[in-house]
């Protein structure tokens, strides 16, 4: 395929779409699949066929439309109308009244001028609700693979890296390492083979951004990986995806096959000398494999156990070769940066945290779903304007970001800008993008215990502070919850947290105490109110060490 072929393909597809007066898109992401979008699809199809509208109206499945809690969702693209809570019956009404008679069905329509949509800025999610997730032609018609064609025909690998560096893009997996810098190190490494790895092992409970991107716009990730391959001189890429995401894996497989058929992956891409292949590696349910050195070992078919860094994967990664490892969302940002230019991207967000961030809003909040906001937006805006606040009758208490590695942000800090620098000042992290909202009914000690149980189970067992420390911390939290702990235990809990944080081998252990430390920092009273005095403790007849009844 040449760049002319690509343009021709885009024009052909646009002409095909122009034949139809209406395009109905139903959300076919996992959230809506579970709320029953298959019945909606059947209902729409039946109504379109029965009313003889199939020449006039096209129906396709698209990526996540955002409002996951209100699914199944249907979107009429032509005049931008979103319908929520659609079932078979209402699907028929939408076809009959909206397509047939040109009248909106107000009973199910969502106001798109609402803050939920108006406050968002879509870069990564720009194709959600625009294209069919399973069609490469539609991706090409919406400027897809243009960035790759541009890079291969007009830019040198150094130019690509310079663009990414100038854009200020930082790793969206949570740590925020500058992407351009990482690529530069790999580019300068001397080796006969280099690798690109996409981290799609989205293990944080409560996070589903990467899954939605892979399900709704898989080609965007492939394009980003191919651009990375060209920039650093790698010819092989791997996507490491979770086994828990079967739909995302299917879509990704389809996308790779399509791209190979079009000559966009494989040998001599766009008639340049650049060859690039992508394979999928499926994870098997180990949270620690989200850590980069553990992930690389898992790609090589080993137990996912982390290694000491340095050397970093950018020097010695897969099979000891220089390896770029980035998150799904990072790769999804690359194509727009190359296409629109680094200056455009750097103009969004804050000077140090550029671009946008996708968050998965969940928990005690009125509108759960997937949102993309510019960096630096105040937390209050995300939770109250976009998320619609907590359910009636309850009060916002804290937002948890960064999953089991992050911390809770209480209401005093609601005006904090959400970026890489500000969140750590209150003991949390940007993380991969899960945002769980807790209201006045949530017990913070219990929440901390929940996260610690998670880290305890998921610790790989290689280093002692993490393996034994997380177990100790969990035991002490349990003791506090049971009302059997004294001031001494509480002090010991704090000390152990600091020890685990400072001495663990990898990110899992180093960040495991964060939820406990941050809840102690902001909600200490909830801990101390559960403590008992030494005198009371003596009355319980428990052993001070094990907490078990003395016989």
């Amino acid at each position: 395929m040449t760049i002319e072929d690509l343009r021709e393909c885009a024009e052909k597809e646009q002409a095909r779409q122009a034949q139809f007066t209406h395009r109905i898109l139903y959300c076919s992401s996992a959230g809506c699949v579970s709320s029953g979008c298959d019945a909606v699809k059947a209902g729409l199809r039946k109504a379109i066929d029965e009313l003889g509208l199939s020449k006039k109206c096209e129906m396709i499945g698209t990526g996540c439309l955002g409002l996951c809690g209100e699914g199944p969702l249907v979107f009429v693209q032509t005049d931008r109308t979103l319908y929520q809570h659609v079932d078979e019956k209402s699907a028929r009404r939408i076809v009959e009244e909206h397509i047939g008679q040109g009248k909106r069905v107000e009973d199910y329509a969502v106001d798109l001028n609402d803050a939920f949509f108006a406050s968002q800025k879509k870069i990564v999610l720009e194709n959600m609700g625009r294209i069919n997730a399973e069609s490469i032609e539609e991706y090409i018609a919406s400027e897809g693979y243009e960035a790759l064609a541009k890079a291969l025909t007009e830019m040198s690998p150094e130019d690509v890296i310079a663009e990414v560096r100038k854009s200020g893009l930082r790793g969206r997996g949570g740590a925020g390492y500058p992407t351009g810098l990482k690529w530069d190190i790999v580019r300068k490494g001397v080796a006969d083979q280099k690798y690109i790895v996409c981290n799609a092992d989205e293990g944080d409970p409560g996070a589903f951004m990467d899954r939605s991107v892979l399900e709704g716009d898989p080609h965007r990730v492939l394009e980003g990986m191919a651009l990375a391959g060209y920039a650093v001189g790698a010819t092989q890429g791997f996507v490491y995806a979770r086994a828990e995401y079967p739909l995302a894996i299917d879509r990704l497989k389809t996308a790779i096959k399509q791209a190979e058929r079009f000559g966009i992956l494989g040998n001599r891409i766009f008639e340049s000398g650049f060859n690039f292949r992508i394979d999928i590696r499926i994870g098997a349910g180990a949270f620690v494999c989200g850590e980069e050195t553990a992930l690389l070992r898992s790609v090589m078919g080993r137990r996912g156990r982390p290694k000491v860094r340095p050397p970093y994967p950018s020097e010695k990664g897969l099979w000891d070769k220089p390896t770029v490892i980035n998150n799904v969302e990072t790769f999804a940002n690359i194509a727009p940066i190359i296409r629109e230019g680094s200056a455009w991207f750097a103009g969004i967000g804050t000077p140090k945290s550029t671009g946008t961030k996708v968050f998965a809003l969940a928990g005690k909040i009125n509108r759960t779903g997937l949102v993309e906001v510019p960096m630096g937006i105040p937390l209050r805006k995300i939770i109250f304007d976009i998320g619609g606040g907590t359910p009636e009758g309850t009060e916002f208490k804290a937002a948890q970001t960064g999953g089991p590695s992050g911390g809770c942000i209480p209401k005093e800090h609601l005006d904090l800008p959400v970026d890489y620098e500000s969140l750590p000042t209150v003991g949390s992290i940007m993380g991969s993008g899960g945002m769980i909202v807790m209201d006045s009914t949530s017990d913070m000690v219990d929440v901390a215990k929940y996260f610690m149980e998670f880290c305890m189970d998921e610790s790989c067992g290689k280093c002692v502070p993490c393996r034994v420390g997380t177990r100790h911390i969990h035991g002490m939290l349990d003791k506090i919850v049971r009302g059997e702990a004294t001031e001494v235990d509480f002090e010991f809990l704090k000390e152990t947290c600091v020890m685990v944080k400072e001495t663990s081998l990898c990110g899992l252990g180093q960040s495991a105490p964060n939820p406990v430390l941050s809840t102690i920092r902001f909600f200490e009273q909830e801990y101390t109110s559960k403590l008992i005095s030494a005198h009371e403790f003596n009355g319980t007849g428990l052993s001070p060490l094990s907490g078990a009844k003395e016989s």
Binding site: C68, G206, G283, F287, R302, A362, T368
Partner: protein, 171 residues
């Protein structure tokens, strides 16, 4: 690289042919161990010790390595499962929205804990870290189908339905 020999397994079980095909696809490379285990579990349902020995031989890996990998990852099962599976999501969003209540009721109803199978071998209770449908929390996956906004009563009802159907057949 030399291709592994694909000969009929002594038991005459044709499923091994499918497994051999997957091993050949990866050129019998030990680096593809996790891929091969996925395929094996897909074909056989769970990973018996004999099966692990077979894979270790085919990939020319020590059995300790194969066993080590199979036990490290939660996704691989070394024991057979019940007829039905009830996978409860214990992710943060589900936890905040009351997954613990569901867990307690279901455990009480089934008389076994999560990670176990009921005595009549009908229902396996499994807990998952996060199935990624947080917008619909609390969520469970019942025989592969995601059920969102679940309540404890509803979960128990669905399990009873499975058990009753099974009883009727038995009579």
């Amino acid at each position: 690289m030399a291709q592994p020999e694909t000969q009929q397994h002594p038991s005459g079980d044709n499923r091994f042919k499918l497994l051999d095909r997957a091993i050949t696809k990866h050129h019998g490379s030990g680096d593809a161990l996790i891929e091969v285990l996925h395929v094996a579990q897909g074909i056989f349902g769970f990973l018996e010790t004999d099966l692990l020995v077979y894979i270790a031989n085919a990939l020319k890996l020590p059995l300790s390595r194969v066993y080590g990998v199979a036990t490290f990852y939660h996704f691989f099962r070394l024991r057979p499962q019940g007829e039905h599976t009830f996978v409860l999501c214990t992710g943060t969003a589900c936890y905040v929205k009351g997954a613990t209540e569901i867990q307690k009721s279901v455990e009480q109803h089934c008389g076994c804990k999560f990670g176990e199978t009921t005595a009549d071998n009908k229902v396996s209770l499994i807990s998952a870290r996060c199935v990624g449908s947080c917008g619909l929390a609390p969520v469970a996956v019942l025989d592969g189908a995601v059920a969102g906004k679940l309540t404890a009563a509803h979960a128990v009802e669905r399990i009873s339905q499975w058990q009753e159907v099974a009883k009727e057949v038995a009579v």
